[in-house]
Symmetry: C2
Subunit: 298 residues, 2 copies
C-alpha cells in the first residue's frame, strides 16, 4: 500500500469529483445551447468559446454537492449549475472588455473580444446572463431566481465589480477589500450552495448552515486567488501572475503579507468544515472541496 | 361642444393613459432602486440616469393594459412592468456603447457612457438586466421568468441585435428585415402582453389572442419607427432623424417606400384591433394603444 499525504489524497479526490460534475454540467449546457436558429450561429459559437474554455466548474460542483447533501433532484441541479456557470462566464467576458479590465488572455486562451470583437463579446455576455435566468425559471422555483439575481446584481457581483473599479489604483483598508470580495466573488459561491439547498427543499436550519459554509469558503477562495497571483505558477493557471502588484491592486498579500494571508484562509476553511459537523459522510464532498481551496495550484 | 378628429381623440386618450401608467411604474422602479448600500451609489445613479431619461413607458403600459383586461393583480403588474422597462433600458445602454452603435444622444440627452464612462455604462446595463429578473422572480410565477428571458435572450432581443449587427451596411431582403425586427423589438412587446396575461392567470385562448395582438402591434411599431426616422421631427423625438439612410440601414421605407410602409403598418394595426373583437370596453386601452402606434410622432 502506497501512503500519500492528506493533501495529495484531497487533491486527487476533489479533482476526480470536479471532473465528474464538469461532465454533467457541460453536457447539460451543450443541450441548452443546442436548439438554436441558424441566424445566430456565430453568437452561440462565441458564447460556447467562453463557456467551454476550460473552467474548473467550481460553482456548478458546489451546486451538485449541495443537492446531493440535501437529497434533491438532479435535473433541477443541472439547470441551476448551468445557470450559475453562465453567470460566472458572462461576468468574466464583460470584465475582460477594454472598457473594464482590458485583458487579452483568460485561462491560457485569447479573451472573447480578441477573437470575436467587442460587439459580439458584449452580446454574448448579455445572452449568457439572460439564458441563465431562463434556466433558473425552468426549475419552477421563483425564490431561486430571486436569490441568484440578488447575488449576481448590484447588491452582489455587479456591485462588487463596480466597487473594484472605484478602488482601482487606490490603497483601500482591509475592511473595504473584504466587502468587495464578499460581493464580487463570495456572493455567487454562497448562492450556488443556497440554491442547491432551496431546490432540494432543505430545512431553514440547513440553509443557514450551508450559508455559513459558503461564506467562509468564499472568503478563503478569494484570499487564495490573491496569493496565487503572487506566488502561483502562471503556466498551471493559464494566466499571468504578478498582475495585481503591477496594477497596484490592494490584495490580501499586499495588506497582510503572504504568510498571514495563508493563515487567514486556513482559518476560514476550518470554520467552513466545522459548520458541517452535524452531517454524516454525505457532506464529505463539501468538506474535501473546502480543503481543496487551500491546496489548489490554479 | 368642440368636435375633434378620431386621431386627435386617440392621441389625447392614450397620452393621458401613458402618463397614468408611467407614474405608477416610475414610482415602483424608484422603490425597487431605493434601499441600496452606499458604496454603489454612483452605479445606482447611472442606472437611474437612463431609466428616468424620459421614455414613453410603452411596454410597461402594455403590461398594465393586459393585466386590467384579465383582471390581474396590480402589485404583480408593477413588478413585471418595471422589469420589462429595465430590460428595455439595459438594451439601449449596451446598444449605444462604442462597441455597438456608438451613439452620443438618446431621447435628447447624452447617452450614459458619455456621462459616466463606458465601464459604468456596461455595469449599469448588467445591473438593470439582473434586477429585472429579481423582480420577475418576486411575482412567484417562474413561467413568466422563462417567457421574458426567452424573449429578451438569444432567441429574442439579443439574437435580433446580433442579426442587426451582422446586417450592417448590407442590403437585406424584406423577409430578413422582418425577422430582425420580430426578434429585436417585437418579442419584448409581445411578452409584455403575455406576461400580463400569465400573472393574471388568463385562459389559454386569451393568451393566444393577446399574442396575436402583440405580434401585429410589434410589427407596426417598428415600421412606424423606421418611417419616423425618415419623415419625423428630430426635435419631437429627441434624437436625430435620417440616421438609417446615413448608416445605409435596410428599413421598411428603404425597401418598400414610405407610402407602402404606412399601408403595411395600418394593415397590422387593423389586425391587432380585430383580434380583440371578443372583448368589451375593457379592451379599449389596448385598441387605443394600437391606433396610437400609427398616429404617434415620437
Amino acid at each position: 500500500m502506497i501512503d500519500i499525504s492528506k493533501e495529495e489524497y484531497i487533491k486527487q479526490t476533489v479533482e476526480q469529483y470536479l471532473r465528474e460534475k464538469s461532465k454533467i454540467v457541460d453536457e447539460a449546457m451543450q443541450g441548452y445551447l443546442a436548439s438554436v436558429n441558424g441566424s445566430t450561429e456565430v453568437l452561440i459559437e462565441a458564447m460556447k468559446y467562453s463557456l467551454f474554455a476550460g473552467g474548473k466548474r467550481f460553482r456548478p460542483t458546489l451546486v451538485f454537492a449541495s443537492v446531493e447533501l440535501f437529497d434533491g433532484d438532479l435535473e433541477k441541479a443541472k439547470l441551476v449549475a448551468s445557470a450559475i456557470e453562465m453567470i460566472h462566464t458572462y461576468s468574466l467576458i464583460h470584465d475582460d472588455l477594454p472598457a473594464l479590465d482590458n485583458d487579452d488572455f483568460r485561462r491560457g486562451k485569447p479573451t472573447l473580444h480578441k477573437v470575436y470583437g467587442e460587439a459580439i463579446a458584449l452580446l454574448a455576455g448579455d445572452g449568457l446572463l439572460t439564458l441563465a435566468f431562463e434556466l433558473l425559471g425552468r426549475t419552477g422555483h421563483p425564490e431561486v431566481v430571486v436569490e441568484v439575481a440578488g447575488s449576481a446584481g448590484i447588491k452582489g457581483m455587479v456591485g462588487g465589480q463596480f466597487m473594484d473599479l472605484e478602488a482601482e489604483g487606490k490603497q483601500i483598508p482591509l475592511q473595504k477589500l473584504k466587502e468587495i470580495h464578499r460581493l464580487k466573488t463570495g456572493s455567487l459561491i454562497t448562492v450556488s450552495l443556497r440554491a442547491g439547498a432551496l431546490i432540494s427543499n432543505a430545512e431553514k436550519e440547513d440553509i443557514e448552515t450551508i450559508t455559513e459554509y459558503g461564506e467562509n469558503l468564499g472568503i478563503a477562495f478569494q484570499i487564495v486567488d490573491d496569493i496565487l497571483n503572487v506566488v502561483g505558477d502562471a503556466k498551471k493557471m493559464g494566466k499571468p501572475t504578478g498582475t495585481d502588484e503591477k496594477n497596484k491592486k490592494s490584495t490580501y498579500p499586499f495588506l497582510l503579507g503572504v504568510d498571514k494571508s495563508r493563515e487567514l484562509a486556513l482559518d476560514h476553511i476550518k470554520r467552513a468544515v466545522d459548520s458541517l459537523h452535524k452531517y454524516d459522510t454525505r457532506a464529505d464532498p463539501l468538506r474535501n472541496l473546502a480543503w481543496y481551496v487551500i491546496y489548489r495550484e490554479k
